[in-house]
Subunit: 310 residues, 2 copies
Amino acid sequence: MLSEKVDYDLILVRYGELSLKSRYVRRYFENMLVRNIKNVFRRHGLSCRVEREWGRIYVFTDNVSSGVDLLRRVFGVVSVSPAFRTVSSMDSVSKLAVGVSKKFLCGDMSFAVRVTRTGCHVFTSRDVAVRVGRDVAAVTGARVDLDRPDFELFIEVRDDVSFLFTEKIVCVGGLPVGTQGRVLVLVDSFYSILAAWYMMRRGCDVVFVVVDDSFLSCLDSFLSKWNMESKIISANVSCRVDLYSMLDRFFLDEGCDAIVTGYSMYMHSDDVLSSIMLLKKHVGHLFLHPLICFDREMMDQKLREIGVLV
Amino acid sequence: MLSEKVDYDLILVRYGELSLKSRYVRRYFENMLVRNIKNVFRRHGLSCRVEREWGRIYVFTDNVSSGVDLLRRVFGVVSVSPAFRTVSSMDSVSKLAVGVSKKFLCGDMSFAVRVTRTGCHVFTSRDVAVRVGRDVAAVTGARVDLDRPDFELFIEVRDDVSFLFTEKIVCVGGLPVGTQGRVLVLVDSFYSILAAWYMMRRGCDVVFVVVDDSFLSCLDSFLSKWNMESKIISANVSCRVDLYSMLDRFFLDEGCDAIVTGYSMYMHSDDVLSSIMLLKKHVGHLFLHPLICFDREMMDQKLREIGVLV
């Protein structure tokens, strides 16, 4: 839905969950997120300058549209808005709003102005909304409709700087990769890749152990889609016991915290718990089975969502 | 959406997933599902007679409306339809359809007739749809609209017996409880109850170990809502190590296949993997953490859906 009609100044990046954490942990998570964002932009040859303040990251790039597309798939990013920036005066905010609205609005449309404000100013949020609403209506001929507008203008006045945007684009959410340890994912079905995706979304670095090379091309396209540079180990084993001892070794070699499978109850065999127990018996480390309670429909739908199944 | 306007003959019960299984396993699962359905009806003092055929269960009860309400929350039931039954002749099917439609339809509404047929008959599905459509239109004055009808009439012709229904009510789905082993759930937060719900939905019998009596009332109301008669063990322990040894004992005493927690990454502590590892170190059995990749929003929403949070 990103409009191509206008040249945005920057991208507002929102991240969630971190508000639960202490200041110290939060700073660590933010650093990781900024690092991941910069890496993704660099890998795609896009310019990227990041500014940040409490609870918010601002990304400046030459290509906002492509930047938004990348940010959609950065774990930890909850939503983004391509935005304009100006100084926090009534005149300049209104001038910007009118300029932007002229590109989007015409006489038979309705619009609403939503204002939030933090800091110390001589005007209130309501003052801004009233003034901008009046000016935009006068220039475009559009009418104000606060309940079901065709078009919304969001204005955030933050101390000396104000931001204006027209859409919030939902992104993948979760936690920045690298904040939650490292896991070894046993790839023996497409569902393993889904399990890996869920672990990445919860902030884990992932190392893949692929037992059948036919999964490699799928895994490659998955990783490139999600902009991940994970290590892939090909383990062509002749029997399960060999696999178990290999898993054991890879786990230690790679300094992992857990081994992850794509197993779910009732998919793999009539008695999944016994199979898992067998695995556990042979490999002493911590196992996680994030899909254990998923049913097939949920998994297939999610695999399509993340671009593994088509 | 169950209409109170008519007296239904029976409830059609659909269950999924089982089609993946061998005939033998499928029969075992069906038996378990029928047993669970009968138990729930008996516990609520509702009459219940069950007939079944390949892939379908028919429940006859004096109170179809209450029966549907119970079946919504029986694990393994994918959807239900309150339905009418008649012999598979054009005349009787059409007569029934006209009788039912008169209660629901009036002249300014549109309707569609959807017919499926299995078995050997002198007419096709299309013949039935055409005849019923014509008769219903003639009597009610409503018009046929196959694309966006106000009202749908579903007719299933199955050998000698035909069924007619007007809605499919989505139920909880999953697998019949009792088909997938027995798990011990450590209740140390509301999320543990959610984890238990997911395990039940995948067919597991659940035994609860409650470490804090303040969860008991919530657990009671959860179990009664979902019609489960699970064992609850109160374990008031002074330290974690006591808890670990108790879990070990309960696991063996109760003949469990796994210990389940409601742990998720980033909820419990900054380093959930380490906490899980600690648990694992002290208790030798198989652990499952079905919520490990859930974020808080997903969990809270699901808790509300299953009636634990309000």
